[in-house]
Each structure stands twice: as C-alpha cells, then as structure tokens.
C-alpha cells in the first residue's frame, strides 16, 4: 500500500473496542486524529462512515472507513507492518492467535453483555460463566502460545495483548457490577501479566496526555 497520509479514529472514551484501536495505533507509532463521538447523539459523519452498524470505532485512512475492531486491528497491522508486528510470521501460529482472538469476541463479549443485562442470581451466574471463559482463554493460551512473560505474545505485545488490555477498563466495570474480581492473578497469571506489562509501555503511558481520555487502569495487583 502507498504511504498513508491521513488517519482519523472515531471512538468513544468508554468503549473497549475504541481503546483497542488507540493502543494498536500507538504501538505502531501512527500519528492520528481522534474524534470522540456522542453515542446518544450520533453524528451524521459517524452514520455515513459506518452505515451498517452505526457504531464506534471507525478508523478512516485517507478517507476510507474501516469498521469492526478486530478487522481494524488486522488492517492496522498490515498497513504498518514493519513496526511491532501484531501477528507471528508462521501461518499455524497466526491461526492460533486468530482462534483466541475470535474466542474473545465469541465468548467474552456476549459474556460481558450477559453480566450487564442481568441482575441478582442471574448476574452472579453470568459472572461465573465469564470467569469460566477467562480460564479457558488462560489455559488455551498457555497450551498454544505461551513463550514466557511478560506478554501473551512473548517479549513484545501482539494482537491478543491489545485486545485484552483494550478491554481492561470494561472488565473492571463488569467486575464492579457483579461484585466480584473477574481477573485473578493466581488463576490467570498469563492474562494478568499481559495487563500489567501493557500499562507500563511508554507508548501507552503517554496516551492520556495526548487525548484527554482516562488513564489506563492501575495494574491488576491481586
């Protein structure tokens, strides 16, 4: 692809998906403009950029919009392929990363909605199922990808670290709703190690200054 000139992210401060894209762009060292959208009063621009889903995030690169966070993340990785690759080179390793990324969207995303949209006993059950899914993810990553601390992908953060850390605030919020700690260091050491290391990255620490958005959450110390 020819050299890119203009990058604009339409997002929302509380959207984990928007945060994922911020993180991806920061890790790649991309200069971009950020537009905070009011989701209760969606702008004409957002509706025209994402007419199918009418949601954030939408990444606009040289006037062309891309929607859906996982698709945006792979796009960013492919356009700025020389900086901090998000996926391994080997096709089988890539398939394993994509599998767990998809697992996140198939299980943890609906799982989060289940917590949000329930109450009492049903919410408690939803939280337990959410934790079960996190454990499946933790064990799956240990079996499939684990190479050592600190990140899921090894020494440098990759796609799964971006997705997980982008969701960190959301997990804290969901845990608050359910009255339980969803991420436990003892049961999920790989996930917690990734989250702790991610907030220490220079590219991420400096983000709040640039965008006037809340700082990443504090490390997940048990």
């Amino acid at each position: 692809m020819e050299e890119v000139k203009e990058v604009k992210l339409h997002g929302y401060v509380k959207s984990g998906y928007s945060t994922m894209v911020h993180y991806a762009l920061r890790l790649k060292g991309v200069c971009y403009e950020y537009v905070e959208e009011d989701l209760k009063n969606k702008s004409e621009e957002l509706l025209s950029l994402n007419p199918v889903y009418k949601k954030v995030p939408v990444l606009v690169v040289d006037g062309r919009p891309i929607a859906e966070s996982l698709i945006i993340l792979e796009f960013v990785d492919e356009v700025w392929k020389d900086n901090n690759p998000f996926l391994p080179q080997d096709p089988y390793e890539r398939a394993k990363v994509r599998f767990w990324a998809q697992f996140f969207y198939q299980k943890l995303v609906p799982g989060g909605y289940a917590i949000r949209n329930s109450e009492g006993e049903a919410r408690k059950k939803a939280a337990e199922e959410f934790v079960d899914s996190l454990i499946i993810l933790e064990e799956g990553l240990r079996k499939d990808l684990y190479t050592g601390v600190p990140f899921i992908h090894g020494e440098r953060p990759g796609l799964l670290d971006v997705i997980l850390s982008g969701s960190h605030s959301t997990f804290n919020y969901l845990g608050g709703l359910a009255g339980v700690k969803l991420l436990e260091k003892e049961r999920m050491p790989i996930l917690c190690s990734s989250l702790d290391a991610f907030v220490e990255l220079d590219a991420i620490k400096s983000m709040a200054q640039d965008f006037k958005i809340p700082k990443p959450p504090a490390p997940s110390a048990a």
Partner: protein
C-alpha cells in the same frame, strides 16, 4: 511451502456450509486431503473432541498433525500456507482485505443467522421479521458486490475470493430456506447482481460437486430440529 508428505485431513459434516468453505479453498489450491465425516449432533465423535475441544465443531483442518479450527481462520491458513499456488483467496491490498473480512463477518454474524431464523420461526410475525432482516442484508450485499467486483464476475474480481467462498457456501441453504418456507431470498428482480453472481458461483465445478441436494438438506434440517426439540423438552 507444504511438501507432498504433509498430510491434510478435514474433519467434516456433509450439510455444513462452513465445511464446504474449507473444501472449496483446498480444491482451488489443488491440495489433496482426506475427508472424514464426523458425528456432530447427537454423540460428538472422538476426533472432534480431541482436535477441537473448545468448540467441538466442524470444520477442523488437520495439517502436519496440528488442528486449525473455525472456517474463516482455516481459509486464511490455506491462503497463507499455499500462497504460491493459484490466485490468492484474500486480496493483497490491506483495505480490500478489510472490506472482504467486513462483509464475510456480516454474512456470518447477521445475514446467515437471520436467514435461517426464517425456518426456525414459530409465528408468522417472527418469520416476517426474519425475512425483513435477511432482505435488508441482501440489499447491503448487493451494493457491496457492485463495489467489490468492479464489474467482474466475483466479489474477488476475476477469481473466486474470500467473500465469494464465505457467502457462496451459504447458497445451498438459501435454496433450502426457499423449499421449506416458500420464501425466495436472492430474487433476481430485487437483487439482480447477487442473483447472477449466485448462478456463476454455483456453476463452478467444485462447488457443484460438493453442494448437497436441496431435498437432502431439507430432510437434514427436519431431523436436526427434531433433535433440538427433543433436547429442550427433555429433563
């Protein structure tokens, strides 16, 4: 590059459009593979539980003894491993790849579920709502086809690509929906471009060969619903 000693096995089920995707891609790349029919609905087979413990679903591609699960991930794996052979399944331009992935995800998350809902609907109201959602989706896909194909025969251009395979694999079910519910979804008067594309795609030799007959799919669907109803009304 895959050597001739690297065995490829596909854990499969004949009615599954997701399995057909993998088969189409393997055939397009000229890859020989062993097809193993699995028991998916009543008692899941051992191989399935071994190679896809998380989802326990087909398709599973086993290459060099290692499993790859999830049809869209399998498509990308095939495209990457046999990259030098035949046309690429995904476009090479990152933006075009994102567009193909976007619409493939739309087919899988929105269009196909709302379409199969037409067969599952318990009331006329439910059915009408599902039909409307499916037709809305087809409007979007008709537009997407126009933009992606740029006047060429497939979403992928001159050659069958990722979105052709993902969407095209669902066509046998579109016919099944018509047989069961009487609703013709990809109507050529409403969606002329998609109707023409669907005919072209269905006429491709490998697609013709592995597409199950509509009557068999209707029978399969009825059996599947009976199993599902038995499961929900039991214990």
């Amino acid at each position: 590059m895959a050597g001739s000693g690297d065995k490829v096995t596909l854990l499969a089920e004949w009615p599954s459009p997701y399995v057909h995707r993998a088969q189409i891609a393997l055939e397009l790349k000229g890859v020989s593979y062993e097809y193993l029919e699995q028991e998916v609905w009543v008692n899941k087979s051992e191989l399935l539980l071994k190679y896809n413990p998380v989802h326990k679903k087909v398709p599973v591609l086993i290459h060099k003894g290692r499993p790859i699960c999830e049809s869209t991930i399998i498509l990308q794996y095939i495209d990457e491993v046999w990259a030098g052979i035949g046309p690429s399944i995904l476009p090479s331009d990152p933006y075009e790849r994102a567009v193909a992935r976007f619409w493939a995800s739309y087919v899988d998350e929105k269009w196909f579920p709302s379409s199969t809902k037409i067969m599952k609907a318990k009331t006329e109201e439910e059915k009408a709502e599902a039909v409307e959602q499916s037709l809305t989706g087809l409007n979007l896909l008709e537009e997407a086809y126009e933009k992606s194909s740029k006047g060429k025969p497939f979403f992928g251009g001159d050659n069958v690509g990722y979105l052709d395979i993902v969407f095209g694999s669902a066509l046998c079910w579109e016919k099944t929906i018509e047989k069961i519910s009487g609703i013709k979804l990809i109507d050529e008067t409403k969606f002329p471009l998609l109707a023409a594309w669907a005919q072209r795609f269905s006429a491709i030799t490998i697609v013709k060969e592995l597409t199950p007959e509509t009557n068999k799919l209707v029978e399969f669907w009825k059996e599947l619903q009976a199993i599902r109803n038995a499961n929900t009304s039991g214990n």
